[in-house]
């Protein structure tokens, strides 16, 4: 609990990520931030500034070279690969710029995949939940289609449904509208915004799109791997 009654879900302290090699590169430098439940946070910055790298670190896809990260009150930087995989499965949902669906599986199977992996619900309930999630996103009539039979916007909605499959604490989105036309972008933006404001989810999204960023409550600007500004949306 913070002082103002908000619940903190994600915290990073002095997180640095360096790539060793012939020419060492610092992707993220000394980043500290805290994100509360129900926040819609946009991470912005020029190309190559390290905003995606920060997202991968906060999404536990990558491990920091130094610094600590807490998720849901638990320090995750000390955990093993298996434990981290489990946390990703239970508490995090990802949406990427390119939809990243499994092309051999139907829309429904793609959404059911994380639930099957978690194995918490019986198969029938997994199916019902996947159908409900897809229906909420206006995909009720596309369940049996394969991803390559869908438009970009539809695929991104399937990806969002899949990210929501295990009812995660935080949804991490890496340029979710980067590959979409303006109408689909607006649609995806509205869906994520609704998840935050009506579904009490937390969304952390990297974006280039100022429109998208304006939908969020808070904007973090990254320049050269450092957090330059971090503040509420200037209304």
């Amino acid at each position: 609990m913070n002082g103002d009654g908000a619940v903190e879900v994600l915290r990073a302290e002095h997180v640095t990520r360096e790539l060793t090699g012939e020419v060492p590169v610092t992707l993220v430098k000394d980043a500290s931030l805290a994100i509360n439940r129900g926040e819609f946070v946009s991470i912005m910055g020029p190309s190559g500034s390290g905003k995606s790298s920060l997202l991968y670190l906060l999404g536990l896809l990558d491990m920091p070279t130094s610094g600590k990260i807490w998720l849901d009150g638990e320090e995750v930087t000390t955990l093993t690969e298996r434990q981290i995989a489990r946390i990703r499965l239970e508490k995090l949902g990802f949406v990427f710029q390119f939809h990243f669906l499994l092309v051999e599986f139907t829309v429904l199977d793609n959404v059911m995949l994380p639930m099957t992996k978690l194995g918490r619900l019986p198969e029938k309930e997994q199916r019902e939940r996947a159908e409900a999630l897809l229906a909420d996103l206006g995909m009720a009539d596309q369940l049996r289609k394969r991803p390559d039979q869908l438009s970009g916007g539809q695929r991104q909605r399937v990806a969002i449904a899949r990210a929501l499959a295990n009812d995660p604490l935080v949804i991490l989105a890496d340029e979710p509208t980067g590959n979409l036309d303006s109408k689909s972008s607006a649609n995806v933006r509205d869906i994520l915004s609704e998840l935050v404001h009506d579904g009490n989810k937390t969304v952390l999204a990297v974006t280039h799109d100022p429109e998208f960023a304006r939908a969020g409550d808070r904007q973090i600007h990254i320049v050269d791997g450092r957090i330059a500004t971090d503040g509420m949306r200037p209304d």
């Binding site: 995989a85 499965l89 239970e90 990427f96 390119f98």
Partner: protein, 414 residues
């Protein structure tokens, strides 16, 4: 169905042609393995059968494995004085008390025994002389221990009993000496006995050395001709279970003292040739399966390369390196198992085709059949080898897949 298996099946299903090709590789490997193994094992069995059927399983001869210990040495085993040039006592050749020894052997279950007294004699006919090995036999007992009766092409073995002056010779010898059935020939033995005997049978084994060089007479007549009354110099045996010969031979030798040789001992060098042949055969046919496993390695490596994006997404979703590894190991296992089952069917089909083949060789009256072996053990070996090599081939790409770092893929894409 585990999720990893489901994903594996979907992967294989979505590239049917590649999957089919690698399946075909394993199938052909297993099938050829089985066909070649079946032929080799079949011919080996055929060979051993011929070896075993034509010769006695155990032969007790009138000699000892080791020379008997001299009484003086027995008396003073640690004597300071060595006695040299001791000449052993002269003994009448032959198995002493062969009837008692036979009685002992007859009591062993599953063993048939017959006495034989063999020795060199000279056949004389129309001025031609031919030395042959004469076997004195008891016709009634001989049928239980030898297939010579089946090789008789004129007359029969029993004729020896009804005519004690009868002799059975090989057809090749008869042709060579211009002899026919019921002809009389002169038989002379090394001890100076000379008799006139009548040809009452002709045999043909196919082996020239035997057909030209052996003759059968009644045991009693042989004892007279060789001047060894009441002696036999061989006890020949056949067993219901030829493979027990070694043990039975050892038991008999231990009891009666005379050297008894099993067919295995007599044809040790041949059997070791068979072993070498088997080793060569199995390494060659295994090579087929190894080559097939390279095909599997290839397809799974390709799938791993193509599926790097999927691997990244599965990992970001919460799949561990182990889960990812399992997906590709499943793929190898599926190909290995399905290929084995298909190969088994194809293999038995091939064996069946081989078993129906007949070759007519010029100069041989009976067409040659392929001796095939239908045993399940070779199929199991083939399948186990195929499944293992398929899994082995899948292991390396699978391990590589497990090590895929999602961020590397995401960075490359974004």
């Amino acid at each position: 169905m585990p999720l990893t298996l489901k994903i594996a099946v979907t992967h294989l299903n979505s590239r049917r042609r590649q999957t089919l090709m690698s399946l075909l590789g394993v199938m052909l490997g297993v099938a050829f393995f089985m066909a070649v193994s079946s032929l080799m094992r079949g011919s080996e069995q055929d060979f051993i059968k011929r070896l075993v059927d034509s010769a006695p399983h155990i032969t007790v001869s009138d000699e000892f494995r080791d020379a008997p210990v001299q009484p003086a040495v027995k008396q003073f085993p640690d004597g300071a004085v060595a006695i040299s040039n001791v000449k052993p006592k002269t003994e009448v050749r032959g198995i002493r008390g062969y009837k008692q020894k036979m009685a002992y052997i007859e009591n062993i279950p599953g063993v048939r025994v017959a006495p034989v007294l063999s020795g060199q004699i000279i056949l004389t006919y129309a001025g031609k002389e031919q030395g042959v090995l004469m076997n004195g036999v008891v016709p009634e007992l001989m049928s239980g221990v030898s297939d010579i009766e089946e090789k008789i092409v004129a007359g029969n073995m029993q004729a020896l009993s009804s005519n004690p002056n009868g002799v059975i010779i090989g057809r090749a010898l008869a042709r060579k000496m211009n002899l026919g059935m019921d002809d009389n020939i002169t038989v002379s033995s090394p001890v100076g006995q000379v008799r006139t005997m009548k040809i009452v049978g002709l045999f043909e084994t196919g082996a020239t050395a035997i057909d030209e060089g052996q003759a059968y007479v009644l045991l009693k007549r042989a004892q007279v001709l060789l001047d060894r009354p009441d002696r036999a110099n061989m006890l020949v045996m056949q067993l219901d279970d030829p493979y027990a010969s070694r043990e039975v031979a050892a038991r008999i030798e231990k009891h009666i003292g005379y050297r008894s040789r099993s067919w295995q001992e007599a044809s040790e060098s041949l059997l070791s040739v068979l072993l070498v042949r088997n080793i060569i055969m199995y390494s060659v046919v295994s090579a087929i399966l190894v080559v097939a496993s390279f095909g599997i390695y290839n397809i799974i490596s390709t799938v791993v390369m193509e599926k790097r994006r999927d691997i990244a997404i599965l990992k970001s979703m919460g799949f561990t390196a182990r889960d990812v590894r399992h997906i590709f190991l499943w793929e190898g296992t599926i190909i290995g198992l399905m290929g084995s089952v298909g190969g088994l069917t194809l293999g038995y089909g091939l064996i069946w085709v081989l078993s129906t083949l007949r070759f007519q060789v010029p100069g041989v009256s009976v067409p040659i059949e392929m001796p095939v072996y239908w045993g399940l053990d070779q199929a199991l070996i083939a399948c186990a080898f195929a499944a293992l090599s398929a899994m082995g081939a899948a292991y390396f790409p699978a391990r590589k897949a497990g090590l895929v770092h999602p961020v590397d893929i995401l960075r490359g894409q974004a």
